[in-house]
Each structure stands twice: as structure tokens, then as C-alpha cells.
């Protein structure tokens, strides 16, 4: 009898093995969708099931929602990818032989992310995150153009450094826990470590957290460690950009937060709050300004991801129940919205055959429905009501203002700057004289619309169940 938390990891891995053996990309695409649907079902089942704390796995309020979102976005991305990839083959950017590889890797990546989310053992968490990262590295280089290779190489180098530093931090945590919990498995179990953190050596915990912050922070895309992010988003296939922005960044942040919770248990240790606030603000404002210079549509939204991750880190750095609640809500909303944006971007890129802003104009004339969807998605990410992103951003700003009024000016400023850039680009893209080709769009619009509707619904009405969940998770975060 497989438990839900085991299913959510094993199903994708098993699917990866099967998909690697299947010939033909169409069959593979269908298989991909089925496997993702199964994983999503497991994720929902997990939400409804009881919480567990085991030696290797943990299911508590904090990760159960992210597992559900992870599997949901995985499912919708698989749907999108199934229709999108066909087009890529037609235009000759990819060959069918690669696609078998692509689908298997997709499932393996989802499985690894789920593993990281569900792990109670800090070593397993690290393994899951590293595997997911390495697989995305390969996927980013899929198109084999010089730019893609450069992006993938840079990503590989930076990710490897981040991985190694994070592993070193993991070892240091183990060393801190060893005198208290003894040798072996208990010292690597997160729940036990968190419970006994008060008895651990604060200086060692400080050093460990620094390494973990730099290591996992590289994967979250915090400035100045963000250098891999824009290129990786721009050069990889669009489904991968969606997964990167929507999921992998979240999982990395989740790992960082688990360790923040650990640090919270030891009052004598360094308070991660101020550092996270500063790094978040730097990322936010830096990315917001960089938005103005971008001429490639995917790179543009990659910087938007950096901006939002910065905002989230800022929120979690502020701490306290409201800010944590807002941060968690924002993680969920951003995940859904950003992936829907990348779906839309994928459609737009197919429609115009290019990724450069200068060549994408007048969508309202050539592809009206796409233009509406794209506009809504951009407005959603810009933080306009009634979408969910507005709710979380508003909450973050008000709690900051209530506690440190002058500090609230900075994220507000950053968000406004970003808002301006988004609107500017939106206007250029939607209105104006159409130029260039206007191809038919082959990809399915369902995922994009589905996500937008979810974000809209969450903005209007958040079900009490979810509110309770978020609140409890916020309390855990301290």
C-alpha cells in the first residue's frame, strides 16, 4: 500500500523510466500528460489526507499546499507542452529523437522537485533539488544554439557552485545537530533538528545558514547570484521556462525557509530576517530597473520572476504571522500567474515566430483572443486587483508599513517601477500596427486560462480551508 507522499515521488520517476523507453513523441506527450495527472491526483489526495512525520518524509501544512501546486502546474505544463512541442518540431527547432529524452527528463524533474518538497531528511532535500536543477540545465540547452549552450553552461556552473555550498551548509547543520541528537539519521532529520535547535551551537548554525543562504539563494535567483536566470529562461523551451519560474524557484525558496525555521528555534543564533530583507529588496529594485532595458520577451519576464522572488524573500525576512501569510500566498499566486504568463509567451512566440519585443506588435489585431489572455496575465502579474497577486502584494506592503513605515517605501517603489515597465511593454505588444508574420497558434490555451481563473478566484475569494492552511504554515515559520 503506497502512501500518498510516496506516490507523489514514485509516480513521476516510474513514468520517466517508461517514457524513456517509449518511441514516438506523440505517445510520449500523451504519456507525459497522464503521468502528470496521476501525480496531481496524488497531490490532491495528500492534501486531503493526514499529516505524517517520518524518518525520511514529512507532510505538514507548509509543504502540502506546495505539493498540490507543484503537481497542478506540472500537469498543466504537460498539457501545454504536448501541444507546443508539435509546433517546435514543425518549425525544425527540435528533432523527434530528442523528445523522448525530453519527456522522460520532464517527469524525472517533477519527481525530484516533489522529493525535495516531501523530504524530512535534509540530505534527501538536497538531492532532490540538485537532481531537479541538473535536469533543467540539460533542458535549457535543448535547442543547441550557441546562445542556448552559453545559457546552459552558465546555469550549470552557477548551479553547481550553489549546490556545493548548500551541501556544505547541510554538513554543518549535521555537525551542529550531532552533539544533541547523536550520530546517524536523527541528526539529518529536519523535524528533530527543528525541535532541538535551542540546544545547538549558535555559531555553527550561523555559519551553516550563510552557506545555505548563498547556496540555495543562487537557485532562488537572489541578486547578485541571479546571473544564470535570465539566459536560462530565454534560451530554454517555453515549458521549461514555465517550470523554472513557477516551480523550481519556489522549491528552492521552500528549502531556504525550512532552514530559516530551524534557525528560529535557536534564539542565540543569527537572525536571518535582516539579511533576507536586504537581499530581497536589492533583488526587487535591481530587477525592476532591469526590466526597462530588456528587448527579449522571455528575458523580460525572467527579471520579473527575480523581482517577485525578491519580494517574497523580503516578506519572509520581515517575519511575523501576517507577513509570512502574505509571502506564502504570494508564492502560490506567483507560481500560477508566472507559469500562465509563460504559456502566453509561448503562444505569442509561436504566433510571431520571434521573441523580440520590437517585432511583436498589434496582437489585438492579429490574435485578439491571445491578446486578451496575454493582457490579463500581465495585468495579473503587475499586481492589479482583483487578481490574487494584488492581495498578497497589498498584504505585504501594509504589514511592512504597520511595523516600519519608512521601510515600506522601498518595496512599493520597486513594485511601481516594475509596474511601469510591464504596462509599457504591454501597450507596445497589444496595440500598435501589426508587423511581421502572423502564424496560427497550435498550443492549447486551456492551461493558461485555467491558471488565470484560479488566480482570479483566489483574489476574489480564498476558501477558508486554504486560509487556515496558510495561517498555520505562517505560524510554523515564526
Amino acid at each position: 500500500m503506497i502512501e500518498a507522499y510516496q506516490a507523489v515521488v514514485l509516480v513521476p520517476y516510474a513514468a520517466a523510466v517508461v517514457l524513456a523507453a517509449l518511441p514516438g513523441y506523440r505517445v510520449g506527450a500523451v504519456g507525459n500528460v497522464i503521468a502528470s495527472a496521476a501525480a496531481f491526483a496524488a497531490g490532491l489526495w495528500l492534501m486531503l489526507g493526514p499529516q505524517t512525520v517520518g524518518n525520511y518524509a514529512i507532510v505538514d501544512e507548509f509543504n502540502v499546499l506546495f505539493l498540490a501546486i507543484n503537481t497542478l502546474v506540472g500537469f498543466t505544463t504537460a498539457l501545454f507542452s504536448a501541444s507546443y512541442i508539435g509546433h517546435e518540431i514543425e518549425t525544425g527547432r527540435l528533432s523527434p529523437g530528442f523528445l523522448r529524452f525530453y519527456h522522460a527528463m520532464f517527469q524525472a524533474m517533477m519527481g525530484s522537485m516533489n522529493l525535495a518538497l516531501v523530504a524530512n531528511n535534509i540530505g534527501l532535500m538536497w538531492v532532490g533539488l540538485e537532481l531537479a536543477t541538473l535536469i533543467t540545465v540539460v533542458m535549457v540547452g535543448l535547442y543547441r544554439t550557441p546562445q542556448a549552450i552559453e545559457a546552459a553552461w552558465k546555469y550549470f556552473i552557477l548551479a553547481s557552485v550553489g549546490i556545493s555550498l548548500a551541501f556544505f551548509g547541510t554538513i554543518l547543520i549535521y555537525l551542529a545537530g550531532q552533539p544533541v541528537l547523536g550520530e546517524g539519521l536523527p541528526s539529518m532529520t529536519w523535524s528533530l533538528l527543528q525541535a532541538t535547535a535551542g540546544r545547538m551551537d549558535p555559531a555553527l548554525l550561523d555559519l551553516a545558514f550563510i552557506f545555505l543562504l548563498i547556496g540555495y539563494g543562487t537557485k532562488v535567483g537572489l541578486a547578485p547570484l541571479h546571473a544564470w536566470l535570465p539566459d536560462a529562461h530565454a534560451e530554454g523551451p517555453t515549458p521549461i521556462s514555465a517550470v523554472l519560474s513557477g516551480l523550481l524557484l519556489n522549491v528552492a525558496l521552500y528549502a531556504l525557509l525550512r532552514f530559516k525555521m530551524l534557525m528560529a528555534g535557536q534564539p542565540a543564533a543569527l537572525d536571518p530576517g535582516p539579511i533576507m530583507v536586504v537581499m530581497g529588496l536589492v533583488s526587487l529594485i535591481f530587477a525592476a530597473f532591469m526590466l526597462y532595458q530588456r528587448r527579449d520577451i522571455k528575458r523580460f519576464f525572467a527579471y520579473s520572476s527575480i523581482e517577485h522572488m525578491g519580494l517574497m524573500v523580503f516578506a519572509f525576512g520581515m517575519g511575523g504571522p501576517l507577513a509570512n501569510f502574505a509571502g506564502l500566498l504570494h508564492m502560490a499566486m506567483h507560481s500560477l500567474t508566472k507559469s500562465s504568463i509563460f504559456f502566453a509567451v509561448g503562444h505569442v512566440a509561436q504566433a510571431k515566430g520571434t521573441q523580440r519585443f520590437a517585432e511583436i506588435r498589434g496582437l489585438s489585431v492579429t490574435h485578439p483572443r491571445l491578446a486578451v489572455a496575454f493582457a490579463l496575465a500581465v495585468l495579473a502579474i503587475a499586481g492589479l486587483p482583483p487578481f490574487g497577486v494584488f492581495a498578497s502584494e497589498f498584504l505585504i506592503l501594509t504589514t511592512t508599513f504597520a511595523r516600519l513605515p519608512w521601510l515600506a517605501l522601498l518595496p512599493a517603489f520597486g513594485l511601481l517601477v516594475g509596474f511601469g515597465a510591464l504596462l509599457l511593454r504591454l501597450q507596445d505588444t497589444i496595440f500598435g500596427e501589426p508587423i511581421g508574420p502572423a502564424h496560427r497558434v497550435d498550443a492549447s490555451s486551456v492551461p493558461m486560462v485555467l491558471h488565470l481563473m484560479l488566480v482570479l478566484a483566489a483574489g476574489l475569494y480564498l476558501p477558508p480551508l486554504l486560509v487556515v492552511w496558510f495561517r498555520r504554515a505562517a505560524e510554523l515559520l515564526g
Binding site: 540530505g123 538531492v127 541538473l134 540547452g141 546562445q147 546552459a152 556545493s164 554538513i171 539566459d231 534560451e235
Partner: protein, 219 residues
């Protein structure tokens, strides 16, 4: 007991010397040999820890380190370099002397950090931790100051060597972590092999500077 300590210390010290050798060498073949030497020393250090502390599971780690990183990967890289036909010198960002000096500073830094941070740890564990941290930082330094794609990966692998040494020093870390570390090495190598060939295909060189011209931020 003191002899056990001395030998572990000696092996870790030799690994550190190999890290400096990696910074010092100017030909790719010499860099690969220094890396092989470091990995073999790592295998010896882990095997010694397994024998003297009576932890038989570490023998597996030692065997993996020896087989994979001491033999397989250097041989594979040698052949890759020959096949790529790249000219054999390593392009540098800073000179050897400067790199060595910065390496020394990093050694001092890691020592100062460990002494400050872990006074409660047992003597042997602390020394190995300081040396392991220095090796990790030196591997990182090598990735930064050498512009060649092969040496960047070698730098990363030597960082991993330092990590495995640190994990060995941490008594009782379960086998699952060690096996997964080994597994990650495999994945990393696979990724690397795929990439170096692609880079060579597209750029006719594995000098990272050539890649830099493709940087998207300028667009």
C-alpha cells in the same frame, strides 16, 4: 590513537596541496593529473577513516571516489581533451602568483572561521573541517580564475572532493548521502560531457571568453 589523527591530517593536507597544484598548473594534462592525485588521496583518506573509526560503510565511498574520480573521470577527460584537440594551455584570468596568494588567504579564512565557530568540536573533526572548507573554497577559486571549460568542471569536482572530505569528518553521516553524492557526480559528468562537445561543436574552442560574447544581457 595519535597516529590515526596524524595520518588523517596528513592525507587531508596532501589534498590541500593538490588543490594548490591545480591552481599552479598551466597545462590541461597537468591539471587533470593533479585532480586525479587529489581524488586518489581522498579515497585513501576516506578508507583510513573507515578503518580507524570502524565505519565499514565508508569503504564504499572510498571505492566510489577511487573508481569514479580517481580513474574514470580523469581518463575520460584526457580522452575528451585529445579528441577536442584544444591547445593544451589553460587560459587565465589572473596570474599564477595572484591565484596562489588568494588561495592562501582563503586557507587562512577557513581556518579562522572554523576555529571561531566550533570550539566545542572534537580536535580531529575540527581540523578536517577547516581543511575541507579550504579545499572547497580553493575549488571555487579555480572555477573563477581559469577560463577553460574543462578546468571549470575540474574545479567543481575538486569542490566536491572537499565536500566528501567534510562529510567523512562528520561522524555518522548516513550512507544515503554518500551514495547520492556519488550519483550526483555521475549526473554532473554526464551533463558536462554533453556540453563540452556541444560547446566545441559550436564555438571551435572551449575558452569561456568566446561564450561570453553570446551573453544575452547585452541584447
Amino acid at each position: 590513537m595519535k597516529l590515526a589523527y596524524e595520518i588523517s591530517h596528513l592525507l587531508a593536507g596532501v589534498m590541500l596541496v593538490a588543490s594548490f597544484a591545480l591552481l599552479y598548473q598551466q597545462r590541461i594534462a597537468a591539471v587533470l593529473n593533479a585532480f586525479a592525485a587529489q581524488s586518489i588521496t581522498l579515497a585513501l583518506a576516506v578508507a583510513w577513516a573507515a578503518w580507524s573509526e570502524d565505519r565499514p560503510d565508508l569503504f564504499i565511498t572510498a571505492a566510489i571516489a577511487l573508481g569514479l574520480k580517481g580513474v574514470l573521470i580523469p581518463v575520460a577527460l584526457h580522452r575528451t581533451v585529445t579528441r577536442l584537440g584544444v591547445h593544451r594551455e589553460v587560459e587565465k584570468v589572473v596570474g599564477v602568483g595572484m591565484a596562489l596568494l588568494v588561495g592562501l588567504a582563503l586557507c587562512g579564512l577557513s581556518q579562522a572561521l572554523v576555529v571561531k565557530v566550533a570550539p566545542a568540536m572534537a580536535g580531529l573533526g575540527r581540523d578536517e573541517l577547516a581543511l575541507a572548507m579550504a579545499i572547497v573554497l580553493l575549488g571555487f577559486l579555480m572555477m573563477i580564475v581559469r577560463r577553460n571549460a574543462v578546468t571549470q568542471v575540474v574545479g567543481f569536482m575538486s569542490m566536491e572532493n572537499g565536500l566528501i572530505l567534510a562529510a567523512t569528518g562528520a561522524r555518522g553521516m548516513p550512507l544515503v548521502v554518500e551514495v547520492s553524492v556519488a550519483f550526483s557526480v555521475l549526473i554532473a559528468l554526464f551533463v558536462f560531457a554533453v556540453f563540452v562537445f556541444r560547446i566545441r561543436e559550436r564555438f571551435d574552442t572551449i575558452d569561456i571568453e568566446a561564450l561570453d560574447r553570446m551573453r544575452g544581457d547585452r541584447r
